[in-house]
């Protein structure tokens, strides 16, 4: 037994928690060698059977032709991907990217400012503020979107506030515009950005900012050269999240855009539920996944760079 223990110890991960006794590690090695696989099997089978295989299937579908009557004709083709770059659909992609990009930018600016303000509060107050900032995120997405219909419709609160300030003209049409869609997206995903930006901000060593000030750095320089680079991973995580979920969204454009303009999500929806062109819908879904993976790679790169910087800063200190 001891022999296996030491072998296990040697093989154990560097990150093994120090509080675990030697004894505890032995135990894990000896008795749990075969058990983890057994424990994980049902869940992994579920994930593979109902996520990996279906996603692989959709990816495969993208390479087949659409059948004459809407089914799938199993002949290999790259047409579906070519169609994605057709001016008509490329236009929808560009519009989706523009709307998602604008929403991301606004959400990151507001979210970062809010996270910064929370992180600057008293320590005891921070968890409470954070909890209430994230709370709306856990209510139903449709309801949060519906709330904006109630606000923005012609007789909604916004119009009434304008009237109260003496506005007498026609009620402004705010609903069913691109602006309404962007507002809805920002509103829905802002809590996540706050959460993502708060994590690195709360871990920030205040001495770094002090050191910068002592060395004559202005507030702007300190922010730009010290605080911003160190908190970039949080910003990147939040931004990727908002962008990916916005660009694939079909609920917000349908409800707040009034179905007047499509985004990629609506396009995917149509291919599967109305146009019945599954291979093209599958190609669109594949492109969505590709965009997501690309952005996650960028985010991973930002996180790596930031951790290198932190390490450097620590060494220099």
């Amino acid at each position: 037994m001891w022999g296996r223990c030491t072998a296990g110890q040697r093989g154990a991960r560097k990150g093994n928690k120090p509080r675990q006794s030697l004894h505890a590690n032995c135990r894990r090695v000896v008795t749990t060698n075969s058990r983890p696989a057994f424990l994980m099997a049902p869940a992994l089978a579920w994930l593979i059977g109902l996520m990996v295989v279906p996603c692989g299937l959709v990816l495969a579908l993208a390479f087949f032709q659409r059948g004459i009557y809407g089914g799938v004709d199993y002949t290999f083709t790259l047409e579906n991907f070519a169609k994605v770059f057709d001016p008509l659909y490329a236009g929808i992609f560009l519009r989706s990217a523009r709307i998602a990009g604008t929403a991301t930018l606004i959400a990151v600016v507001i979210g970062y400012a809010a996270a910064y303000a929370i992180a600057s509060c008293r320590r005891s107050l921070q968890p409470v503020l954070l909890f209430f900032a994230v709370l709306p995120f856990w209510s139903n997405y449709l309801i949060r979107t519906y709330a904006w219909i109630v606000l923005l419709n012609r007789e909604g609160l916004v119009t009434q506030v304008l009237r109260w300030f003496g506005y007498t003209g026609e009620p402004p049409s705010m609903l069913y515009t691109e602006g309404a869609v962007i507002a809805g997206l920002v509103y829905n995903y802002l809590p996540f950005v706050i959460l993502a930006c708060y994590a690195p901000l709360s871990r920030l060593n205040p001495e770094l900012a002090e050191a910068s000030r002592d060395l004559g750095g202005s507030a702007v320089t300190t922010f730009r050269r010290i605080i911003l680079p160190l908190t970039l991973p949080g910003i990147a995580a939040g931004a990727v999240f908002v962008f990916v979920l916005s660009i694939g969204n079909f609920v917000t454009p349908a409800l707040l855009g009034g179905g007047r303009f499509q985004m990629i999500g609506n396009l995917v929806y149509d291919q599967f539920l109305t146009a019945n062109d599954w291979p093209f819908g599958a190609a669109l879904a594949a492109v969505l996944i590709a965009i997501m993976m690309l952005l996650l790679l960028v985010q991973g790169y930002a996180a790596d760079r930031a951790s290198t910087r932190t390490a450097q800063a620590r060494e220099e200190a």
Partner: protein, 264 residues
Amino acid sequence: MAERSATARRSGTTVLVLVFAFLYIPIAVLVALSFNEGGLPTVWSGFSTKWYVSLASNADILHAALNTLIVAVASTAIATVLGTLLAIGVETRRRRGTVLEALVFAPMIIPDIVLAVALLSFFSMLNVTMGLHTIVMAHVVFNLAFVCAVVRARLKSFDWSITEASADLGASGFTTFRRVTLPVILPAVVAGALLAFTLSVDEFIIAFFTAGAGRSSTTLPMQIYSMIRFGITPEINALATIVMAVSVIALAISQRLNKGMVGQ
């Protein structure tokens, strides 16, 4: 952060007031108008709870609510068992696998629409008749990932030597799990289950695609979606208020349990 000037503090407070106003005014207006006497959903004309009463006699909504409850309870039950076992398995594994981590993480970040169309193609290709059971199967996918994440966070600070003590005293693997491991991680398991329940109750897109034809397996979010598309009514406001209250209460309990975890 370090002590700051009065100006900085004031601007911080201003930012927070504005952001919280932005986050809560839409919800507050929605809830307030659910108690509106008049039929117009946006103009106040007096306090009334009649829209809640009319909800209770709306057969479509009650049916959808029952479906939602069935889906949420079933998918939460399955996901809690599978997710907890998965978490213990992953945490007791000696080697970390990148593929395994990605597989466990993927359901939390994959866009809903992608999983939805993938499952729709999958089920129809296998000629599976879709209904509540397929929604449950789909919901378990992301629910088990969330349960697993919550339980894993708790296991990170778990002292595995106590399971060894139990085994040394002659307990079987199952007895050790039931009498030692489970009581310690139980708050996290319950917190994970509540989170899964909330997610399932609120989930719309995947349910919409895997519900199959016909109205028999309509869930509450699907019902809300079609009502919203039809127009604004005070009834939606009342329904929205109830759904939000349920989510918030479940989340608040989950959060409390999680906090208790840190203290242990």
